[in-house]
């Protein structure tokens, strides 16, 4: 790995932009995710920041069991996040649909529609667990970016 590759790897590890996507959540996980930005947890000191546009994001944090109404919007948002990217499923709902399993309006779980890199279980999960999940996704993101660059270089 060259010095420039190492610098890029380190930059990806230290600057993850997160996009929060609610796909029919009860808002429990959303409240816990937003808590991570509060003075008590202050994820900005780790370089993590929340973005409004999917174009600016690296990590997609999905909450909710993926309702039919939110499915297409979620796929569009996922497609709009530029490579390299990672997906974190926050809470039990995107992992298994939780108490909404079997509902006719639910199209989940999440991994039926987009690839999921990290699961953060809990109903809702603790902010510490969410930060830990994002930290794991950051490493996956940086390694994926390095791999894509190597493959891109080999193809050229």
């Amino acid at each position: 790995m060259s010095i420039l590759d190492k610098l890029m790897y380190q930059s990806r590890c230290k600057s993850p932009s997160v996009l929060h996507l609610n796909t029919g959540s009860c808002n429990g996980c959303d409240i816990e995710l937003v808590t991570c930005l509060s003075p008590r947890y202050d994820v900005e000191q780790l370089g993590i920041h929340l973005e409004g546009s999917p174009r600016h994001a690296d990590i997609l944090c999905v909450t909710g069991p993926v309702t039919r109404n939110a499915l297409e919007a979620m796929k569009t948002e996922y497609a709009q996040v530029c490579e390299p990217k990672a997906v974190v499923a926050i809470g039990s709902c995107p992992a298994s649909c939780n108490v909404f399993a079997g509902s006719p309006v639910v199209a989940g779980p999440l991994n039926k529609h987009i690839p999921v890199d990290v699961y953060v279980p809990g109903c809702p999960p603790h902010p510490d667990a969410i930060i830990n999940g994002i930290a794991r996704a950051v490493v996956i993101l940086a390694e994926r970016g390095a791999r894509q660059e190597t493959q891109g270089g080999m193809q050229q």
Partner: protein, 303 residues
């Protein structure tokens, strides 16, 4: 072009110093906001990491003139701001010429114009709303900014920046400086004049569709805008005294102090609606601008 001009352009306050300073001021802005919210805030090298990371992102493939324009606007913004910073008369230089103040005002206005055009060419609804808000706010702010600059120029009977530098006995000069300071939050899209980048309403406004390298350049342009605008105020208020090193240090310190104070003010205020922002600039700040020009001309006859 001689050695001192090259130093101004490429060394201090130009390219080599301006780019790290822009990242440092961006860090200062976020740090001041974090401290106001009782948070620790981001690490010192965060803007640098953000820039490098964005350079490594794969942006969506687009074709035709739209793709070229999307890349052209942020680069033009960065270049115009680097030019504006190089014109600041921190040291005596041959880069200064008669009428360079007018060039500086034009160069400071170009990023705003690019921001508006970028929003309209993005094709995004949010981008267009952000761009139209920026256009309206820019029109309101520029009246006060230009009146203040004209007032400062009238106190010295010149638009040469090297002759405008330093404090003046004319009250028109100081009212003009206050007028420019009032325009900085709107030009930098800070609270309470941040309607064009209101993330709770229109995501990232004109920059919603931007990603990767061009977005990195927009963020760099924002830091350079901090440096250029606060640098203009610093040159107008700092007396030219002492050695060049002390003067340079004082210049950077005054710029950084403005960054911290304006960011703290932004963190402590809520966002105005567009209508209220325009009313502020066209009513209250415009009165200040007219007062500055009147005072400068009146005192110019008496002094």
């Amino acid at each position: 072009m001689n050695a001192s001009s090259l130093i101004n352009l490429f060394l201090f306050p130009g390219l080599l110093f301006a780019v790290p300073a822009a990242w440092f001021f961006t860090w200062g802005e976020h740090k001041a906001t974090a401290r106001m919210q009782r948070r620790i805030g981001l690490p010192l090298l965060q803007p640098l990491y953000d820039f490098i990371k964005l350079m490594g992102k794969r942006t969506p493939e687009r074709h035709g003139i739209e793709n070229d324009l999307r890349r052209f606007y942020p680069v033009l913004s960065v270049l115009s701001l680097l030019g504006a910073i190089a014109l600041l008369p921190v040291f005596p230089s041959h880069l200064n010429f008669s009428g360079d103040g007018v060039v500086l005002v034009v160069l400071l206005e170009l990023p705003s114009l690019c921001f508006i055009l970028a929003g309209f060419t993005s094709g995004s609804v949010y981008g267009k709303i952000g761009a139209s808000r920026e256009a309206v706010l820019s029109g309101a702010t520029n009246l006060v900014f230009l009146l203040s600059f004209v007032a400062i120029a009238a106190t010295r009977h010149t638009v040469r920046l090297s002759e405008l530098a330093g404090p003046s006995a004319n009250p028109g000069h100081w009212i003009g400086v206050v007028g420019i300071l009032l325009c900085i939050p709107a030009k930098l899209r800070l609270n309470p004049f941040s309607t064009s980048s209101a993330e709770q309403e229109i995501y990232a406004g004109a920059l919603t569709e931007y990603a990767g390298g061009p977005l990195g350049f927009w963020k760099l342009a924002h830091g350079l805008e901090w440096f250029a605008l606060t640098g203009l105020v610093a040159t107008l208020v700092l007396p030219v005294a002492g050695g060049w090193a002390i003067h340079a240090l004082l210049f950077v310190a005054v710029c950084f102090l403005q960054v911290m104070l304006l960011s703290a003010m932004a963190a402590g205020t809520a966002r105005f609606t567009l209508e209220r922002s325009i009313r502020f600039y066209w009513q209250w700040a415009a009165i200040l601008g007219v007062l500055a020009v009147t005072s400068a001309i009146w005192m110019g006859f008496r002094l």
